[in-house]
Structure formats: structure tokens, C-alpha cells
Amino acid sequence: MPQKTVYTASVDYLQILDEHGKLDDKLARTESGKPTLADEEVLELYQFMVKCRALDEVAFKLQRSGRMGTYPQNKGQEAAAIGSGYAAKRGVDFLVPCYRENAALFMHGLPMHYVLLHWMGDERGNQIPKGVCQTPLCIPIGTQMLHAVGIAWAFKMRQEERVAITYFGDGATSEGDFHEAMNFASVFQVPCVFFCQNNHWAISVPRESQMASETVAQKALAYGMPTIQVDGNDLFAVHKASKEAIERARAGGGPSFIEAVTYRLADHTTADDARRYRDATELEMWQGKDPLIRLRKYLEGKNLWSNEKQSALDDAAKPLVVEVVKAAEGIEAPALDDIFDYTFAELPRELELQKRTLRTSSLGQNPDQAGLQAQAEHV
């Protein structure tokens, strides 16, 4: 037969909890019939979600009141971060984020004030504590996925049962590094999960203008990678798909791709005004799909939640956020010496000279020059 089909494929979509809080009981179970998330887990995750939203709103206010620099709100994407983060093993699996999945990072042990420190212009927000398995926020788009592949590769080389999960947006899948990372991951079958938060907007460019493909998930097909599109505002779907992908990777099944369809309810960052390019009706439509609202409806429907409990949670979130802000604002000023001391493990001589003299003397470069030494020391 001179002409035949050599490749066909399709992409599944998974939703378990719809926007009205209705759960598909069958899909919410594992193959053995056990719920993928027990009630107490859902309760815990919901409360964590509310706290993360509270911090996100306060972070926005900190910027508006001049107490913090530019900040990219996470609002609306909490289910994607928490569902996937919860599926990974804390202290074992490695998170490689961009900057709109704070909740996953907190869940894996990053002190909450670190994120504020980062956006307050302080590198100590990137000084990931020992034992916390994650890289700092990554500002350039799409570059971090290759790091995740390298980390996962190291796990595979050392035969450790660990997985790397990397986060990025729909826009990042236009970057060359995305394709190189996907290709390396699949060629070398490393334990890496690619988690795309398709929030529909890359600053002002909508997904439809960003790519001609119908879904983001199908891009993984070209790399022979298991792929799925999930409702990214559905904690259950995100968690189930993530768990499957992570455990497949852990068992030696190689990388997977997850497209979590979600929505950026806020501006790109505090420096952006989405009203310039985004239709108000679209925003309203997505506000109705807010992951917090549907999870609360679900819990209320199961008599696991009430207005009283919500008030108590909101009340508890306030002092928590105050403490986080206090920790970020209360830290001592950074030392200028740090920028010299952390350039290399050992300070090179020329840099040591700059550290010693440049701040106080324009002659800092040549304190040893005969005739000028005395002057330099005097200054």
C-alpha cells in the first residue's frame, strides 16, 4: 500500500468535580475503588487553598501600598498548584516552578515569606532551606524545564525513586527550551512531569494567538509522551492526573505531560492592566469557575463545611498572613557584601579588590599604585 496512516492519536480530557461542585464518584476513585482523595484530605487542602488565596490578595495590596515590588498574582490557579503539589512526595520529589504556583511550593516546605522576600527584591527569598526540594522562582519563560529534566536525569542515573515536576504556562510552550526539554526527557526517559498551567493568557496574548494547535496537551504527542488535558480548576482531576504521571515516572515509565486548563483571574502582574486587552465577560465567566467556590460547594454538599467554619477559617487566615508579612518585612537589611561573597565559592582577587575599595573610592581599582595608595586609604 503506497499510502497509509502512520500515526494517529487523541487527547483525553478529565474533569471530576464540575463548577457546581458535583463530583463524578466513579472517576474520583482509583482502580481499586478507593477514593483518590479522602474527605479529611479534601478538607485540609481546601483550607490550605483559602489561606494561599488570602496571602495572594495581601501580596497584591502590599504592592499597591508600595511595600513590595511587582507581583504576579496566583489567584484562580490554586487547584492546579495544590492538586499537583499534593500528588508529589514532599522531601523526595523535586519542584521546578515558574512563578504562579506558590501553593505547591508552600506545600513542599517553602516558608511562605520567602515568596514575598523574592518580590520585595531580596535574593534571600531564593535561598531554599536545606531539605526543601525545589528551585527558586524562575523569571525568564520556559528555561526552567530543562533544569527539571537534568534533575530528573540525575535521579535516574543514581537510581533514586524520585521525580521532578516542572511548572510553566501556555505561553512557555512557544519557547525553544520547552521543546528541547520535552525531547531530552522523552529520549532519555527521565522521571519528569511537565505540568502546564494553561491560564489562557501570556500577558496580553491569548492562547489562540500563541499557538495554532487545538490543545497544549497534544504537543506532547510529538515527543511520544503520555499526555492529558484536565480541568485545572478541579482539585480532583488535577490530583488524579498528577498522581498517575508522578507514579508512572517513579516506576520507570518516563515523562508525562499534563495540561491544566485554568484561568488567570488577576492581571499578569501588578504592573499590568488586563482590562486593556481582556474582555470583561470572559473574566466573569471564569470567576464562576473559581476552584475555591466549587470545592466549597462540594464540601457543603457533603455536610463537611458550613458558613461558621468558613468564618472561622477566614479569621484564622488573617493572623497567618500578618505573620508571613511580618517575617518578610522584619528581616534585617541585606548586606552588600553578599553580592561579592556569593558570586563564586571563593572570592577572586580582582573582585576582592572591588569589594574592599570600590564603595569608598573611585580609585578602588588601583589602591596599590604608587603615589595613589595614600590617597585611596585617606578616602
Binding site: E123, N126, T143, G150, M157, D177, Y342, T343, F344
Partner: protein, 332 residues
């Protein structure tokens, strides 16, 4: 790869010495892995990694897909996770796609994480002209990388120095770009100790001592300088310095020499403007102003695109241009 008696008699080439350093570092430290295009089965396009895959396996000497950013970016991740990757970029002209990962990630991570994450990787890159290669196979971009804080730039030109410096680079806790002057790969042999040894990064070498003038150079140009020095009258005493490391710069060796001689000619293949010679020249005027007897001279590539190879020997500094500059500087 095994040192035959014949090789021992004639000495090692630059290629042999680098290969030997890689073998010894891989034997010493299981965290060392090599990755790049054609580095495995084929032993590298210059055969620098010849025999390594057979010896250490395809899991440690890895043929990667053809993607420089992918090579550098995964090497960054490997380093983050505690490995000691030694990626190879096949030619310096193909560093462009890897630049972002090297400069914006590898070089910045220690600082931006305040020491929580470090990137001990050594990227090996054949560099420079003179081998009749195609386009974008002959450039000298060392100054670009020296300009970026957080990365060390090494460019040895002899087999002995290359072996000791590569071992130091692989053991270094920070990213190192290790440039290998491809013009010298097989054109020069010397006796190299079989046992491992280290040459510290950041130390220049005084190739020949002198009192009248200092010539500062690195890479393949060292050999053009030696040729030029041979042409000078016997009563002229020139001190020749091979930088070996571009950054961190060995200020002391430069300053001590120029304070003694009062005259200096800097030679490099890279374009003159903003070449690393400009930085050295500036440091000399900062530190040796009162001892200078003549303006510092530079013999460099021109501020043009590196020509195709029919013109490359006219572009690259040769013994005639170097000798002329030395003579003029002495006469000033």
C-alpha cells in the same frame, strides 16, 4: 586512549591530554558525566572523547539530541542535583543557543540563591581559527563570557596546562567554560605526566622571562607569539605571558611583569574592540601607570566578521604583525 609507548616518546597532543584528564576525572569521581553532540559513539568530532563511552558506558558518556540549549540546560539541572556534568558544545560558534542557560542560569545561581544552589559544571568548547573550518567554526568569544559575573573562563594552549586545568575545572564548585584552541589540538606535542595533577584556575604562566617588554596572550596565539619572538634581535629581552585563565584574571603576574618592563603588547584572535585585551590594557594603566614607557599595544582580530578560511590567516594575528608591534613599542 591508552597511552602507547609511541605516544609517550613523542608526547601528548592537546587532544590526548584533555582525553586523559577526562578519563582520570571520571575514574576519580562517579558524579562526572559527559554529554554533547557526537561525544559518545563517535568520540567527538575532534576525537577528544575517543574511547570514553566504551570505557565508562553510554550512561556516563552521553550522545544527546542536537540542541545546545538542551545540553547546557540539562547540564545545569544535573549540576543542581549533585552531578558534575561536563557538557561539550561542538564549536564556539554554536554557543549562541546555549548562551541563555550558561549566562542567565549557570552563572547566576549561586548568587541568586545566596549559595543554596550551586552549578559545578565545566563546558568544553573548541575555539578559535586557523583550521580551514566552515563558517561559525573559528570565532573567539572569550571576552563575552569573561564579562558575565559568576563564570570562570579558561583557555589553555599546551597539553600539560590543559590536563591540569581541566581537572581543576571539573573539581571547581562553580561553572567553568573551558576553551580548547582547535588550531593546537594536534599541532604540538609535549611530555605530560601520566599521573593526575592540578593547575590552579586563575594563574597565568610566564612562558619566557624578559626585561624589555611584556607580551600577554592566550590560546593558539601563544605559538604565533613564540614565532615572533624568534625573529627579534638577540639582545631584545621579551617576557611572554600565557594567561591560561581569562577570568578570574591573574592581575599579579601582569602587574609584576609590566612594572618591570614598562612596555606591553597584548595579542588575541578575538576582535580588538571590547576584546579581553581592552580589559588587560585598562588594568595596566590602573596599576602600572607610573612605570609605563609606551602606550600599551594590541594585536588582535579586526572588528569584522571572522572571514571564511581563504582569508582567515590574514585576519588572525601572525608572527609578522606581532613582531612589528613589539618593535614599535620598544622604539617608542
Amino acid at each position: 586512549m591508552p597511552r602507547t609507548d609511541q605516544i609517550n616518546q613523542k608526547g601528548l597532543t592537546l587532544v590526548d591530554a584533555i582525553n586523559e584528564a577526562l578519563v582520570q576525572e571520571m575514574e576519580r569521581d562517579p558524579r562526572v558525566v559527559i554529554l554533547g553532540e557526537d561525544v559518545g559513539l563517535n568520540g567527538g568530532v575532534f576525537r577528544v572523547t575517543e574511547g570514553l563511552q566504551a570505557k565508562f558506558g553510554a550512561g556516563r558518556v552521553i550522545d544527546t539530541p542536537l540542541a545546545e540549549s538542551g545540553i547546557m540546560g540539562t547540564a545545569v539541572g544535573l549540576a543542581m542535583a549533585g552531578m558534575r556534568p561536563v557538557p561539550e558544545i561542538q564549536f564556539e560558534g554554536f554557543l549562541g543557543p546555549a548562551y541563555d542557560q550558561l549566562v542567565n542560569h549557570a552563572a547566576r545561581y549561586r548568587t541568586r540563591s545566596r549559595g543554596a544552589i550551586t552549578i559545578p559544571l565545566t563546558v568544553r568548547v573548541p575555539v578559535g581559527g586557523g583550521i580551514h573550518a566552515p563558517e561559525l567554526h573559528s570565532d573567539s568569544p572569550e571576552a563575552i563570557y569573561a564579562h558575565h559575573p559568576g563564570i570562570k573562563v579558561v583557555m589553555p594552549c599546551t597539553p600539560y596546562d590543559a590536563k591540569g586545568l581541566l581537572a581543576s575545572a571539573i573539581r571547581d564548585p562553580d561553572p567553568v567554560i573551558f576553551f580548547e584552541p582547535k588550531r593546537v589540538y594536534r599541532s604540538y606535542r609535549e611530555q605530560v605526566p601520566e599521573e593526575e595533577y592540578l593547575i590552579p584556575i586563575g594563574e597565568a604562566k610566564v612562558v619566557s622571562e624578559g626585561t624589555d617588554l611584556t607580551v600577554i596572550t592566550w590560546g593558539a596565539s601563544v605559538f604565533q607569539c613564540l614565532e615572533a619572538l624568534d625573529k627579534l634581535p638577540e639582545d631584545v629581552s621579551v617576557e611572554l605571558i600565557d594567561m591560561r585563565t581569562i577570568y578570574p584574571i591573574d592581575l599579579d603576574t601582569i602587574v609584576n611583569s609590566v612594572q618591570k618592563t614598562g612596555r606591553c603588547v597584548i595579542v588575541h584572535e578575538a576582535p580588538k574592540t571590547s576584546g579581553f585585551g581592552a580589559e588587560i590594557s585598562s588594568l595596566i594603566q590602573e596599576h602600572c601607570f607610573l612605570q609605563l614607557e609606551a602606550p600599551v599595544q594590541r594585536v588582535a582580530g579586526f572588528d569584522t566578521v571572522m572571514p571564511y578560511y581563504k582569508l582567515e590567516l590574514e585576519y588572525l594575528p601572525d608572527a609578522t604583525r606581532i613582531e612589528e608591534a613589539v618593535t614599535q613599542c620598544l622604539a617608542y
